[in-house]
Structures are given as C-alpha cells and as structure tokens.
C-alpha cells in the first residue's frame, strides 16, 4: 500500500511538472512570436513554411482518404438507422453536422498526432541526444524560438486548414454513398449540406482543431526535450508522445464538446 501511494504521488508530481513545463513552453513560444521582432530575433518565416509543408501539405492525401471513409461510414450507418422511420433524407443533416463539429477535427487531430507529433518528439529528442539543442543555445539561438515557435504557428495554421478540407471531403464521402443508395445527385446532397450548416458548426470544429494543434505540439516538445538514454530513449519518448497526445485530444474533445454544444 505504501509503495502504491508513493508511486501515485510520484506520478502526480511528474504530471504537474510536465504540465508546468508545457505551459511555460507555450508562453515562451507566444512571447517569441509576438516580441521576437522587437528583440531582433524574430521567428523565421522559412522555418514556419517548412514546418507547415511537413505537417499540413504532406498530410493532405491521407486526411482526404480517412475523412472520405468516415463520411461514407456515417452515411452507411445513418441510412440503415433511419430506414425504419422513413427519414433517410435526414442523413444529410446528420453527416454535415457530425463531420463539421466532430469527426473532421478528431480524425485530423489523431492523424497529425501520429504523423507529426511523433516526428516532433523524434526530431527534438535526437537533437537533444546529439547535443544539437546545446549547440543552438551556445550559438545564442533560443531553441524555443528556433524550433518550438515555428512548429506552433505552423500547426495552428495547418490543422484548421486540414479540418476544413476534412469537412468537405467527409461530406463528399457521405454524398457518394447516399447518391448510390437514394439516387440523390452529389450536387443536390452538397447543396443541402451547405444549407443546413451554420457558421457555428464549422467554428466548433475549427476551435477544437486549434486546441488539438496546441496539444500535439506541446506534448511532442516536452517529450522530445526530456529525452534521455540514446536511441532507445528517443523511441520510448516517441511512443509516449503519440499515446499521450491522442489520449489528451480525445479527452479535450469530450470536454470542449460539452461546453460548445450545450446551450
């Protein structure tokens, strides 16, 4: 019992420390983004562009495939569920709202956490192990400005953009299946989807995607900066980073859905 309580206490303190570290990294990154220019050490546009290419543009094909599949899956489930009530045409509203409010942001979040969150941890962890982070600091380059801030900006731009793309592709997936089942044209389906959607539906997804973006970057960074123990340590940190960010994304999604949906 004593060992269990000691272990629990240790885990709690570690979690608090990591939370504090993540918060500090976030504030420091914001400081560099806002005040860097006045200190003549601005966050470089080319770094943001490179990160945005890696996180966002290269993720477009896989985001498209997954969101299309989710849209189709919702259409299959929706049509079957609504059949007994003769309300199959209502599937358009269901898919439009669930994709824009929920699924697109969640799928993009999980995908980017697996794809880019792990890459952030592996990259920072390897740099930490090979003393490249120390080298940056002794050259006079703050690693938060040079590495963390561009990642944060890039993630905050690309995640919502990918979510909007996911919204559209998800609805398209639903449209393709519904057009096959109900004989409704894809254009009619999409027109009806856009007519039922209000700005707030899309905004909900976008707000969530921005929160997921911050979670992925911070979890990736804190795990990367704390790497110890060579290549094996980098591997452990990468796994931990992915599991942690996906778990936090799902929990944060639940919390924000509660606050954003209830009126």
């Amino acid at each position: 019992m004593k060992i269990f309580v000691t272990h629990l206490g240790r885990v709690f303190i570690q979690a608090l420390e990591e939370l504090g570290y993540a918060f500090m990294l976030f504030i420091e990154s914001l400081q560099w983004i806002v005040l860097g220019k006045y200190k003549k050490q601005s966050v470089r546009i080319e770094h943001i562009f490179n990160e945005a290419m890696n996180i966002g543009v290269r993720a477009v094909p896989i985001v498209s495939v997954l969101c299309f599949a989710v849209g189709m899956m919702l259409a299959i489930q929706g049509l079957e569920t609504l059949k007994p009530y003769g309300a199959q045409s209502q599937v358009v509203t269901g898919i439009a709202i669930s994709v824009t409010r929920e699924f697109s942001a969640l799928i993009v979040g999980i995908l980017v956490a697996g794809r880019s969150g792990s890459a952030i941890t592996a990259r920072i962890g390897t740099m930490q192990e090979s003393q490249e982070i120390d080298a940056l600091r002794v050259i006079g380059i703050d690693p938060v400005r040079y590495l963390a801030a561009p990642m944060l900006i890039a993630m905050l731009i690309t995640m919502p953009a990918l979510t909007v793309l996911g919204d559209f592709i998800g609805m398209l997936g639903g449209a393709v299946y519904t057009s096959m089942e109900l004989g409704m044209s894809i254009k009619t389906y999409m027109d009806r989807s856009f007519s039922v959607l209000v700005f707030y539906d899309v905004m909900q997804g976008l707000i969530k995607s921005a929160i997921f973006a911050v979670i992925i970057v911070l979890v990736g960074l804190i795990n990367g900066f704390q790497v110890k123990g060579g290549a094996e340590g980098v591997g452990h940190a990468t796994t931990r980073s992915v599991v942690m960010s996906i778990s936090l994304i799902v929990i944060a999604d639940m919390i924000f859905t509660y606050f954003l949906t209830r009126s």
Partner: protein, 271 residues
Amino acid sequence: MTEKIKQQTEDVIQIENLVTHYGDRQILNGINFSVKKGEIMVVMGGSGSGKSTLLRYLLGLNTPTSGHIRLLGKDITKMTADEMHGMRKNMGVAFQGGALFGSMTVGENIQLPLREHTRLDENTMRIMSRMKLEVVNLAGFEDLMPSQLSGGMIKRAALARAIVMDPKLLFFDEPSAGLDPVVAAELDELILRLRDAMNMTIVVVTHELDSAFKIADRITVLDRGEILICGTVDEVRNSDNERIHNLLNRKPRQEIVDVDEYMSRLTGQNM
C-alpha cells in the same frame, strides 16, 4: 611589452566557489580556478570527475547552486537572457560529437552563427565559412551533409563553426575522443595554431593525457568534483599526489571499503 605582460596576467575566465548539484547529488564541490588571456587551459579527469559538468556551467547551459563564473569580467550567473545573448558572440564551442545540425549542409552549419548575430549578405557569409573551412583543412566540403563526414572531419567542421565569429573564448569538449592517434594529433596542432593565429583563450576538456600534455599551458585536474591540482604541465607531471599519479599512470582507483556500509548496501538494512 607592457601590453604583452598585461595580456598574460588578465584573467578572462574566473570561477569562484562553484557548487553544483544534479538532483540531490552534489557534482562540483567548491571549484576555484582562472584562465588567463591567450592561455590554453586543459581540464582533465576520469569519467565521473565532473569535467563535462564544469564545461556545461562555463557555457552557461546550467545554473549553479552557488558560486560565480566570470567570463571576460562579467558574471554569467547573474546575467539576463539578453546579456547572455550578447556574451555568446564572444564564445565558440566545439562539442564532443560535433553537434552539427543534421538537416543542414556543413556550410550552412558554419554560417548559422553569422546568420543569427550579424546582418552580412549571403555572399560574405559564404566566403567567411569557406575561410574557416580552409583553416580546419576542410576546403571543398561545404556542400556535404554532416552524415557524409568522418569522425575527424565532423570535429573539424564543428571547430570551424565554433570559430566563425572569431570568438575571444573557445571551448573544446574531448577533441581526441573516438579519433585515431594521427587525426587526434592533427587536431591538437590545429588548436595550437588557432591560439597563435587568432589569440584565443582556449579551454579544452579531455581525458587524453598525450593530447593534454601537448597543447596545455596549464592543466586543471578534477576528481570527484574537486580540483586536485591546477598548474603547468611540469607541475602536474611532478606532483606527488597519489590520485594524480594514478590518473597519469592509468592505475585503477583504490576504493576504501567500509564493511558495515558494504553489508548495509547488500542487505538494504541499516547495520
């Protein structure tokens, strides 16, 4: 002449009562030493002696528990981030494994400090990086990636990056580690040439005896977080301190065994 005398007596690095901890464990225990302008100071010691830790504190990468570290007359333990940023322009560091950025070419690595601290145009930066590559005998390698270089070449490229801003202070961590004797000797020659040509003050951390005796003006020997001796090469060689003797003659340390403590370690109980 007076200028030369003044230069030789001016301390550019001063460490006073430096105490550091790693968690609860004390690593450095009241370190005091100074390095004069234009001097090559070699910090020696075995594994776990605290020499790498000392270097991290000298570079301002960690904050000490207590004590002062003065570089070029300014206490870096009390500096603001902006003041430290200014100080970095005067410091060059070559890390043990090179720490070249793997995503950049050798040339880009060397240009990075210039890009951060100066407003030189691309062409000038390229010329300056080529000049430093010439100094370290790596001319023509600027477009290669660090992964395409050998161990000795990586150390020389790291040295080129460290000296690109013509720093007043140069720190070199384990220049000979992992290199064959010929390449290690070439690096030693390079360090001596750099001091003579650029009048840098150089601190080298190493455990290689031959290298230390060849390049050092003075040697500081660390053991278990304390300075055993700080003196000229001859003073260190002729020291009658047993621990220094053991280090120089590669003899294993004699651990004093306390029977009670040994038993309590084995059993996990206080005896």
